[in-house]
């Protein structure tokens, strides 16, 4: 049992929270715009990279690094929304936004490679990934932090969604764009706000995953893919669905890694995606069909 907890449950939960954080950002953006942001991996890395540049390269205080990185991230996210996302909202075709967000991610990655000449760098201020022994159970602060942050973030956004007028407006846009425009809710404002929220999720995700990841302008496709699978499982337009989606992806992936070997993780993920496509194209909690993507 302890073996199962140590080898599957704990790393699975941490991996699931990571996938869930990516999924959360996808859902936030997708439900108001119909666009999946393929540049999200770069946005995630922008925060730790910004802190490194200011504090490691320029030798300024870390707090200042955080402030600068947040401002840069917000500016980049708004720029992406304007040039690569909004023009394609409701175009009814996936190809244009796939290319525009992918293109944006390539440009961003090239710019982000400049400070460290594309070399991956360790982030020295991350939460410790050292395992502690709690009565036979091995767990690190980094694992606890990412799981707790993920659950709190979903809870906070769900409350925002249901209890605030702004949240209600975003849900209205997600459910009916013409109906929302007809009562004065601007689709542009909704997509800008969604982009900023997704940027905030990226910032938190970035600072958490650098406990176990080197900072680099290329955050592998697996993060995006696992995040997408988690979003598809939960429902592409369901915020709370990402809890189920994230942890299913994490546990299934870790089970495959532990009992079959690392090579089987992505095969397992792809199988999960196929099962969702075939049995519940709207995901567990969603309305939007993944087949539309």
């Amino acid at each position: 049992m302890t073996d199962f907890i140590n080898n599957v449950l704990i790393p699975g939960a941490a991996g699931g929270a990571t996938a869930g954080l990516f999924a959360l950002a996808f859902v936030v953006m997708y439900r108001t715009t119909g666009v999946l942001n393929f540049a999200h991996g770069q946005l995630v890395m922008l925060m730790p990279l910004g802190v490194l540049v200011v504090s490691d390269l320029w030798g300024l205080p870390v707090v200042l690094g955080l402030v600068v990185a947040v401002l840069v991230l917000a500016a980049v996210v708004l720029m992406e929304e304007r040039v690569a996302i909004r023009p394609f909202v409701q175009s009814g075709h996936a190809m244009p936004w796939i290319l525009s967000t992918l293109g944006f991610s390539v440009v961003l990655a090239e710019l982000m490679a400049i400070p460290y000449r594309a070399q991956p760098v360790r982030f020295p201020w991350g939460i410790s990934a050292k395992a502690h022994d709690l009565g036979g159970i091995q767990v690190s602060w980094a694992e606890i932090a990412i799981v707790v942050a993920f659950i709190l973030l979903v809870a906070a956004l769900t409350i925002f969604d249901r209890r605030t007028t702004t949240g209600l407006r975003l849900r209205a846009v997600a459910q009916d764009k013409d109906g929302a425009a007809a009562i004065g809710i601007s689709p542009g404002a909704a997509s800008r706000l969604s982009a900023l929220i997704a940027g905030g999720i990226a910032a938190i995700t970035g600072l958490l995953i650098v406990s176990t990841q080197l900072v680099s302008p290329e955050l592998g496709l697996t993060f995006l893919f696992n995040g997408f699978v988690a979003a598809a499982v939960g429902g592409l337009d369901s915020l709370h669905g990402v809890i189920a989606g994230g942890f299913i992806v994490g546990i299934v992936g870790q089970t495959a890694a532990t009992y079959m070997g690392g090579n089987y993780v992505q095969i397992a993920m792809f199988s999960v995606l196929l099962v969702v496509y075939l049995t519940r194209p709207h995901g567990l909690f969603g309305r939007a069909s993944v087949r539309a993507v």
Binding site: T165, L168, R169, R171, A172, Q175, D176, D178, G179, A180, A181, A182, I183, G184, I185, S186, P187, G188, A189, R287
Partner: protein
């Protein structure tokens, strides 16, 4: 009386298809103008052009102000209400939440909701239900109430009686009459001649994207003239 809505030479095209050409009309405060036309005549395109949901040529003037390049949300905020074809209520939000969102266009939202519920009190008992769970007729009433809760000065109504049972058609006609009495300028689009007759409104006949005639809801030969236009 001053004109609340003036439309001049409105045109709407979808790629190469011209859906509407050179339509001009004007609606005064507290007046109903009904545009009658068959399937595909361009009624929806006309309303969507006016409210900014599709791009159009020509000019739309609202209480003397040219709306120009304002998008749909900005036109709604300026006081142009639009009850869309197909209702477009927010299915996962409750009736109350749908009305609340609509009322935010109102200078005093609480009063906006009150006015809407005074007009359609039957919605009160469904306040906590999700809009997606309502019947088609109830959704239509909600769509009208949501628009009214925003206190529009002009209301565009796209075939509000479509698909409704005869009793609800009469109810809708009464509600439109009551909206007129609030002083709202109503531009109604319909296929059913009897709605224009019951309201006794001015009538424009739209055919293949163009206005082909004017009439009045009280004209004896209205039905014949419309049917000739529909069959043409």
């Amino acid at each position: 009386m001053s004109a609340a809505l003036v439309v001049e030479n409105l045109g709407v095209r979808y790629g190469g298809v011209t859906a509407l050409r050179d339509v001009s009309l004007s609606v005064d405060e507290g007046q109903i103008l009904t545009v009658l036309g068959a399937n595909g005549a361009g009624k929806t395109s006309m309303l969507r052009g006016i409210s900014g949901l599709v791009s159009s040529t020509g000019t739309v003037t609202h209480h003397g102000r040219t709306l120009g390049r304002l998008d749909a949300a900005a036109r709604a905020r300026a006081g142009l209400g639009h009850v869309l074809e197909g209702r477009h209520v927010f299915p996962d939000l409750t009736v109350r939440e749908n009305l609340h969102l609509g009322s935010l266009l109102s200078p005093k939202p609480a009063e906006g909701v009150e006015r809407a519920l005074a007009l359609l009190p039957e919605l009160e008992e469904m306040a906590g239900r999700k809009a997606g769970r309502l019947s088609g007729g109830q959704q239509q009433m909600l769509a009208i109430a949501r628009a009214i809760s925003g206190s529009p000065s002009v209301l565009l109504l796209d075939e509000p009686t479509n698909g409704l049972a005869p009793m609800l058609v009469q109810r809708t006609i009464d509600v439109i009459g009551a909206i007129q009495e609030l002083g709202v300028a109503v531009l109604l689009v319909e296929q059913r001649v009897e709605v224009a007759q019951a309201l006794g409104s001015e009538v424009l006949v739209l055919q293949r994207g163009e206005v082909v005639g004017t009439a009045h809801g009280t004209d004896d030969d209205l039905e014949d003239r419309i049917h000739t236009a529909y069959l043409a």
